[in-house]
Amino acid sequence: MDYKPDEMMTVAAARALKNSDVCFVGIGAPSAACNLARLTHAPDITLIYESGTINTKPNVLPLSIGDGELCETALTTVSVPEMFRYWLQGGRITIGFLGAAQLDKFGNINTTIVGDYDSPKVRLPGGGGAPEIAVSCGEIFITLKQTPRGMVDKIDFVTSFGFGKGGDERERMGIKTKGPSRLMTDLAIWEPDPVTKEFTVTSLHPGVTRAQMAETVGWEIKYADSVAETPPPTEEELTVLRDLKARTAAAHGGKTA
């Protein structure tokens, strides 16, 4: 079956999730990936949205983090202070899923501003849950489309912390969680180098060239000694994903998340 890079990205992200995971889900690509995992190989995965909905099983993808669908299909819905205190800070989440406006090679993320904080070129939405998701979840998965404006050598603002300047900076700060352990883009899968913590390409999606990679990333790319080729989406993965998106489009009146 033919597929788009965007679909490959979602499928690659979904595959990284286990049936036993407890996921803190963001809107957009993370939400699609988490629900794809739930509808394929990880039927018992626990999905939590920061609106307070726990063990939710939406039939269509939510447009917002707090759609009624999330509450109606949840095991229980708690208040937002409880969500951030007992569930996130309480250390109960195994995987936090983050997107990024700007990302550096050490997994530090900016979703706050482009330019200077006090007189920004672009005022982005801000961190929301990300600053604490980044340190409270067992590990962090990041997903975004590769662009030279998104994957930059130096981000304008550290909204949420990855590995800082790399190496053991994270541990030295007393942070006990693993941090960004996987980056899934439309072109590749990246994992942090065990020592330097720099994101390193471990798998290229089918047909993606190193030249294409270089054009879409603002730093000099490190490749693993042996770079795999990501298995293309299976027919089941694509069918389930497209059905999900079609149901979502129908429910949201022609627009998808």
């Binding site: 917002s64 706050t112 849950g129 909204t159 949420s160 627009k255 998340a257």
Partner: protein, 280 residues
Amino acid sequence: MAKFQSLHDAVAENIRDGDTVAYEGFTHLIPHAAAHETIRQKRRDLTLVRMTPDLIYDQLIGMGCARKLIFSFAGNPGVGLLRRLRDSVENGWPHKIEIEEHSHAAMANAYEAGAAGLPCAIFRGYLGAELKRVNPNIKSVTCPFTGEELAAVPAMNPDVGVIHAQKADRQGNVLIEGIVGVQKECILASKRSIVTVEEIVDDLNPHPNACVLPHWTVTSIAQVTGGAHPSYAQGYYPRDNKYYIDWDPIAADRDAFLAWMEENVLKVGPEIFASRVEGL
């Protein structure tokens, strides 16, 4: 003791120029009607507080009601950025508003501390994050038992808390169900409060552990059917997703924005909301 009154009177009596006002609602139950009434009454110099400023804050800011914004995530959920907020911050139109920015965890804890009568909240937050460089209201406290350094933020105690809820009974007890967000904390933390409700009933018939605000914790109650639109009220009407999508081009242009506000906010009253949720 909750007072039943029109939304006009509730806003007129409770929200004053220069006040710190939190219109809360986490995607669900956003008090749109109350925000529009505030715009109609031309309040000025407000400090607007909200975890997730979305359309109503874009509108309040674009109409010049705000002096300052305290927030943690400002976006049109599932659609994109807030263009009126951007125009104010990036270009100073209609004027440049001051920004006090936090994380969700900080805001949620600040409301919680406000409701709990504490001067500050402590939490494990902002590790390695740059907001603490630009926000002097992020400090730290050392745990006297473990020596761990924890983030601290001041308790959030707005002058006025404004929310929309499903129903009130005739004594003024308020029931909130579904995604309850920080609404209970917001009302308990605020000096005064306005609650708009879908309906007023004889008996709330709540589940024993439902989220209920006793009448003596609420200042004013106004019935506004559909008052959360285009947000939703679980059990009453769904989210009007198309409205959120349609907002983006309106907000992108100053003239289009002003014309839209004139037509859809300034020229109408709270009763228009009932018709907006018909057939949703």
